[in-house]
């Protein structure tokens, strides 16, 4: 199940994704949605693990980043990934709907933001932005 990033490990033509979410239910659903689109994916449980996996040399075409997580939240993780030079598509996903709450997340470096729950059509619209 381990994703093989385009820039590290084995060469693969498959798109790769990283799911960053502290909620088990959401990780299962996002993993399944990505699987159904043929996107290899791994999941981590907080922003620090997302940063650490990139520090280990892995990169991904797409990062699905939850906002509210323990240890390191999605805003801080996004900021750090951008400071590290990570240019992957980062799509924030959260239950937050108020503009001021989302703005800080977007300003941290998101390419897209989707309100949870994540559906197949929302995920496809994110993937189209990568390919487009």
């Amino acid at each position: 199940m381990a994703a093989q990033g385009r820039h590290g490990g084995q060469e693969s033509n498959k798109m790769t994704a990283l799911v960053v979410d502290d909620n088990t239910v959401n990780r299962m659903i996002h993993h399944r949605l990505l699987d159904n689109l043929g996107i290899e994916n791994v999941a981590v449980v907080n922003g620090k693990e997302a940063v650490d996996i990139h520090c280990s040399g892995k990169t991904f075409d797409l990062i699905l980043m939850d906002m509210d997580m323990p240890v390191m939240n999605g805003i801080e993780a996004t900021r750090q990934l951008r400071e590290m030079g990570i240019r992957s598509m980062i799509a924030g996903v959260s239950t937050r709907s108020m503009e001021r709450e989302i703005r800080e997340f977007i300003e941290a470096g998101l390419d897209d933001y989707q309100e949870k729950p994540l559906t197949m059509s929302k995920l496809i619209s994110i993937v189209h932005k990568i390919n487009g």
């Binding site: 088990t24 239910v25 959401n26 509210d68 949870k116 729950p117 994540l118 197949m120």
Partner: protein
């Protein structure tokens, strides 16, 4: 005979789902979950929902424990549990539970302890109701699968 039983079970499933959607207990996100099931993952919905039940019960216990504490003042911690509950509830299509979580979060943000307690009681009630109904749904689906296996045993 077996055909009639299968028809009855299918009708029971449809009636229960129609009730749950009509009452606003579930929304279209539950249909999204069902669409993620296939032959490679035939029990996906029940697996996800059972994890949801397990996690939700922990979160509800945490919320009650926080609010029952006479010295309670950590609305931030309560907000963290609520966000979790809200996120997973909306991901499985538990619409009414999600809506109660929204009201609960509003009370929490206003440091309104009485409002939070009222919301928690409603949340516990809605959760019990949903859990019973989904268990009923999964039982009917299991019976349908058994009935299908009896009618169409696998040929080696």
């Amino acid at each position: 005979m077996l055909g009639l039983a299968a028809d009855r079970l299918r009708a029971d499933t449809n009636r229960l789902l129609a009730f749950l959607f009509h009452q606003g207990i579930l929304d279209e996100q539950f249909l999204q979950l069902q669409q993620l099931e296939d032959e490679t993952s035939p029990n996906f919905v029940s697996e996800v929902v059972n994890i949801y039940f397990h996690e939700s019960e922990k979160l509800l216990r945490n919320l009650r424990s926080l609010l029952m504490d006479k010295e309670f003042s950590d609305y931030n911690k309560m907000g963290i549990h609520l966000n979790q509950f809200m996120g997973s509830s909306s991901s499985i299509g538990a619409k009414r539970i999600r809506n109660v979580c929204v009201a609960f979060r509003a009370a929490s943000e206003q440091n309104n302890r009485a409002g939070c307690l009222r919301a928690l009681e409603l949340l516990e009630h809605e959760y019990c109701f949903l859990k019973n109904k989904l268990h009923e749904l999964f039982q009917i689906q299991q019976q349908r699968a058994l009935a299908a296996a009896v009618r169409y045993p696998m040929q080696n």
